[in-house]
């Protein structure tokens, strides 16, 4: 029953089979709790607007139609253009990918320095970065707008990447530092003895150990950046608006006719890239990467 690649051996005795069923039951119940709103959203997205207007909001659709999904993707109005979410996806991709990559890499290096190459003041710097996570974005908006104007990055994708990297560093550094700090310092010492330098140790010793936390960081950063609305709406202009602004434009009209089925479909479509990242990243939540090498 023991699997060498994974940690805790499963319960060996047959008497504990009941316990396992209990375990599954608990996990299943939680899964139902988590899925409840998704059920409502999918059910609504498959209804016609007449059915929704007749008062059926939480029930299953009487007649399933996929019309709302097509509308959300390619023909819902987001302004005078009625091309759905499609034209905005590329903007979001081209700002999320570099922003996630840069902020994650910076966080990994920063965390490595703070946790493993401690110098006087490192903890103070860490605390300052950490407290920076709490700055409300509403108040940085206006000075940031000035700064971007000054830098000539107004309304551009590069400007958005810059902003997301700046306000992502605190978190990414936090994740990596708190992960690396559990790794014994003997590891670095041993590598130094072998003649490896700063970057060499980072790339060939620490990066291979970091898959789970790397994935957590990517999940966090990708979610934050892909779903960001405030920066996206303030620092973009016509042509660089990210998908959240388009989603907001479909969903959030005040005095227009509300099409809940399209809203729900659009929200799920806008979330698909993030869900994809979760599913892929999930594969790297594996144990045993550190086995043997850590004990220095």
């Amino acid at each position: 029953m023991t699997d060498p690649a994974r940690g805790l051996p499963a319960a060996p005795r047959a008497g504990q089979a009941a316990l396992r069923w209990l375990l599954f039951a608990i996990l299943g119940l939680f899964a139902l709790f988590y899925l409840m709103p998704l059920f409502v959203m999918i059910a609504t997205s498959l209804k016609s607007l007449e059915e929704i207007r007749a008062g059926s909001l939480v029930a299953l659709p009487a007649r399933v139609t996929f019309e709302a999904w097509g509308t959300a993707w390619s023909s819902a109005c987001t302004g005078i253009q009625c091309e759905g979410l499609r034209p905005y996806f590329w903007n979001s991709v081209s700002l999320s990918v570099p922003a996630v990559a840069i902020s994650t890499l910076l966080g990994a290096v920063n965390g490595y320095v703070i946790a493993q190459w401690r110098f006087r003041g490192a903890n103070l710097i860490f605390s300052l970065m950490l407290f920076g996570c709490f700055i409300p974005f509403q108040v940085v908006l206006l000075p940031m707008a000035r700064t971007l104007g000054f830098m000539g990055l107004t309304g551009s994708i590069s400007g958005l990447v810059f902003v997301h990297v700046i306000y992502g560093i605190g978190f990414t550094t936090l994740f990596f530092r708190n992960y690396y700090v559990t790794i014994p310092v003997e590891l670095v010492k041993a590598a130094k003895v072998d003649g490896a330098g700063f970057f060499r140790i980072f790339w060939s010793v620490f990066m291979p150990l970091s898959l789970p936390i790397l994935m957590v960081t990517v999940i966090w950063q990708f979610t934050q950046i892909w779903n960001d609305f405030l920066f996206g709406v303030s620092f973009s202009q016509a042509g660089t608006q990210p998908v959240t602004v388009a989603l907001n434009n479909i969903v959030n009209s005040t005095t227009g006719v509300k099409e809940y089925n399209v809203d729900m479909a659009a929200a799920i479509i806008a979330a698909l890239p993030t869900l994809f990242v979760y599913a892929v990243a999930g594969k790297y939540f594996i144990r045993g990467l550190t086995a043997g090498s850590v004990k220095g």
């Binding site: 007449e50 207007r53 007749a54 008062g55 109005c77 987001t78 302004g79 005078i80 253009q81 009625c82 908006l141 206006l142 940031m144 707008a145 000035r146 971007l148 104007g149 107004t154 309304g155 609305f229 405030l230 709406v233 303030s234 620092f235 202009q237 016509a238 042509g239 608006q241 602004v245 907001n248 434009n249 479909i250 969903v251 959030n252 009209s253 005040t254 005095t255 227009g256 006719v257 509300k258 099409e259």
Partner: protein, 414 residues
């Protein structure tokens, strides 16, 4: 900015709009993004293009323009203001005072706006004597909508006074029908409140309290009576009203679950979209009392560099107040044209009523700006009032306490 020089440029651009002098350009920030609204604004874009202009769309919906205003501030501070921006009420003057708005008097005077707009609405479009915004439409806020069948079945006529409304509501409640469909969101509470206030305070009292912020008017016995009526109406909404979207409240009226809804004329769009006919399936009337509360959408032009953009601003301003756009836009949107000389043949009976009442109230001086929709006061003050109104409506606060709190909140918002 040098105003006379700019006016000259606009005038030149305007006169030579068809020459090859500068191709009109406009990046337009607005929050009309869903079905009917988007179609309405697309009409403007088509006319703009037909006149040789290039329209760049910058739509930002949300919070009745809050999100768009957020984006606007960031854009202005970064030195990259949009060419034209959907802006309304005293916010226009606030932006003008910041030195951000362009003067469009040249267009307004050439087109004779002063002769075709009601005086009080024209006042909103002017900043220190210069024209600084172009009106698109007039939404009426003080509407009461009703399900025709329910009223007939229970022998109820559209109420002419708030007492009649209360009597009708009691009757409906006894018959097991929700008298008032309402969504418990702050702005909806405020919408009902101002309709009640207009009815009870009268046009002059309303102006004193919610335009001039006169302290005596705000703390008067009549204001206590307004809150009393709000408390009474709290009894006429169903238990689950909290947080409901306004359109779901409209759906309750449509489906016969509720009899009345107090909401601006965008509610008509929901009825029409569901295939209901005015006067047959649903009824529209002004809420009890004299007067007319307007919510006027408008566009302001921001200071920008480049002949092409200034030409775009002049062309846009001209088209917005043009007869054709005023007609087509408002047919789509459920509102009525801001200019009074547009033929209303294609409009429905509710729009006719609205236009008649607007003309009459403009004559009698009871054509008033809506406080709940940001026409009467600057944001800090109207927000302070709404805080009190929604706190009162959603708790068991007494009317006397509410009035006291109202005066304090306004003093604190200054």
């Amino acid at each position: 900015m040098n105003k006379p020089a700019f006016a000259a440029v606009v005038a030149a651009a305007f006169v030579s709009a068809s020459s090859a002098f500068a191709e009109p350009q406009a990046e337009v920030l607005h929050w009309w993004t869903s079905g009917g609204e988007a179609k309405s604004v697309a009409v403007l874009q088509q006319e703009f293009a037909a006149n040789g202009g290039t329209w760049t769309d910058m739509p930002v919906a949300g919070g009745g323009g809050d999100a768009a205003m957020t984006a606007l501030r960031a854009r202005v501070l970064s030195g990259n203001a949009p060419t034209a921006v959907q802006l309304k009420g005293p916010a226009i003057q606030e932006w003008y005072e910041e030195g951000a708005l362009a003067d469009i008097s040249a267009v307004a005077e050439a087109e004779g706006w002063a002769n075709v707009l009601p005086a009080s609405i024209a006042g909103h479009m002017q900043c220190e004597g210069a024209w600084c915004a172009a009106p698109v439409n007039v939404h009426r806020v003080d509407w009461i909508w009703a399900n025709a069948d329910i009223l007939t079945a229970n022998g109820i006529a559209m109420p002419g006074t708030w007492d009649e409304f209360n009597a009708a509501a009691e009757k409906l409640q006894a018959a097991g029908i929700v008298p008032l469909a309402h969504g418990g969101q702050a702005w909806q509470d405020a919408t009902v409140f101002e309709a009640v206030a207009l009815g009870i305070l009268g046009a002059d009292g309303f102006r004193k309290a919610f335009v001039e912020l006169d302290e005596n008017a705000l703390t008067s016995d009549a204001m206590v009576a307004v809150f009393d009526q709000m408390r009474t109406m709290r009894g006429y909404v169903d238990r689950n009203f909290s947080g409901r979207d306004w359109n779901l409240a409209t759906a309750m009226v449509m489906n016969g679950e509720a009899a009345f809804q107090i909401m601006g004329d965008w509610a008509k769009g929901e009825f029409l979209a569901a295939g209901k006919a005015p006067g047959v399936d649903f009824l529209c009337a002004s809420t009890p009392g004299d007067g007319f509360l307007y919510n006027v959408d408008s566009f302001a032009m921001f200071n920008v560099d480049g002949e092409d953009k200034r030409a775009g601003q002049a062309l846009l301003a001209k088209l917005i107040v043009g007869k054709n756009f005023q007609k087509v836009f408002n047919l789509n949107k459920g509102s009525i044209p801001a200019r009074t000389d547009v033929a209303l043949d294609e409009f429905d009976s509710c729009a006719h009523l609205s236009a008649r009442d607007m003309a009459a109230s403009s004559e009698s001086g009871s054509l008033l700006p809506s406080y709940a929709h940001g026409m009467a006061l600057r944001g800090a003050q109207s927000g302070a009032i709404t805080d009190v109104v929604t706190a009162h409506f959603n708790s068991d606060m007494s009317s006397a306490d509410a009035v006291k709190m109202l005066a304090e909140a306004i003093a604190n918002s200054m």
